[in-house]
């Protein structure tokens, strides 16, 4: 019975991918990351701290020290320094450190072409975060079956995130196997 449950769990896991499973104490941190100052850090650093081609760039793994320095020294972040308490900064830093532990693969779908940025730290043991951005102006559907994942539809200009685990189909994530469906 336990085996069956384990099997079912793995099957679900493999077929659907899963969302980022944030520990409870980091959920409010994520919320703060996306609303700080009334607009949010993500506009300049990406929804998952991965940069997303915005002004601030990649900040996964940044600790409190680095964050505090940036809030003092970066002209575009200075005003945020006044609205974040020490506790807020600690919370956000913990969130960034948590994200920094997860290797990330960023995919950008643009007009039937896929651009890929792969975290060199990916290996056959670690689950990784797949962040998929549709840079186009209409919805796209991706065939992720070679990765053991369901097809995924992404709205125009939207970003989706999945956790992909090497124990599903292949040992190491291979971005080449992703196809855009017509």
């Amino acid at each position: 019975m336990n085996r069956l449950i384990a099997f079912l769990y793995l099957w679900l896991f493999a077929l659907n991918g899963i969302a980022l499973d944030l520990p409870d104490h980091l959920k409010s941190a994520e919320n703060l990351y996306r609303t700080a100052g009334g607009y949010g850090c993500h506009l300049c650093h990406g929804l998952y701290g991965h940069g997303a081609n915005q002004a601030g760039g990649y900040i996964r793994g940044a600790n409190q020290e680095i964050l505090k320095t940036a809030l003092i020294e970066q002209p575009t972040m200075k005003l945020l320094n006044n609205v974040l308490s020490d506790k807020d900064m600690e919370l956000i830093a913990n969130y960034l450190i948590y994200l920094g532990e997860i290797p990330i693969v960023s995919l950008t779908v643009d007009n039937m072409a896929i651009g890929i940025e792969v975290d060199e730290r990916r290996d056959s043991e670690k689950a990784l975060q797949l962040v998929l951005f549709n840079a186009g102006f209409s919805e796209v559907t991706l065939d992720l079956s070679a990765l053991g994942l369901n097809t995924l539809t992404i709205a125009a200009q939207a970003t989706e995130s999945l956790i992909w685990s090497p124990n599903s189909q292949s040992e190491i994530f291979d971005p080449q196997v992703i196809n855009i469906l017509p």
């Binding site: 009334g38 607009y39 506009l43 915005q54 609205v83 200009q157």
Partner: protein
């Protein structure tokens, strides 16, 4: 003569009316203000508001959530989200594409107006037009 003068003044008033921007931003946004400054230099009158809930403003004016940036500007009933260059706003207002209600430069690209260092060329971002149902099209590419 008096009539003509009156007519001219009314006409001028009408035009300057069209060039007023309602700028909705957070008090803790510096780049929003820099964008407003650029628009003032371009001859617009910028009236700045600091609402508690910016998201409510964005959804009221129909900005698709995926196209969000920091500030939201309203000119002549059309909405301009984020660091949209003045030239694109002018082009849009002169001839709004069918059904489109505004433009957005989603996120905060480094080389967009208000983000880029003074005098730098605008580069590496899209200007996106959208309608009230969230349909989108590319309006300009830098």
């Amino acid at each position: 003569m008096k009539k003509i003068l009156f007519f001219t003044i009314t006409l001028i008033a009408c035009f300057s009316q069209a060039d007023t921007i309602d700028l909705f931003k957070s008090t803790s946004c510096g780049c929003c203000k820099l964008w407003g400054d650029i628009m003032e230099d371009e001859g617009y009158q910028v009236d700045t508001f600091h609402p508690q809930d910016l998201d409510a403003v964005k959804s009221k004016w129909g900005v698709p959530p995926v196209l969000k940036s920091c500030h939201t500007a309203v000119i002549d009933g059309y909405v301009f989200e984020g660091h949209v260059p003045e030239a694109d706003i002018r082009k849009f207002l002169d001839n709004p594409p069918d059904g489109m209600i505004g433009l957005s430069v989603p996120g905060m690209p480094a080389l967009s107006p208000g983000m880029a260092p003074e005098g730098a060329e605008y580069e590496n971002f899209n200007v996106v037009a959208f309608d009230k149902d969230g349909n989108m099209m590319l309006f300009n590419k830098y």
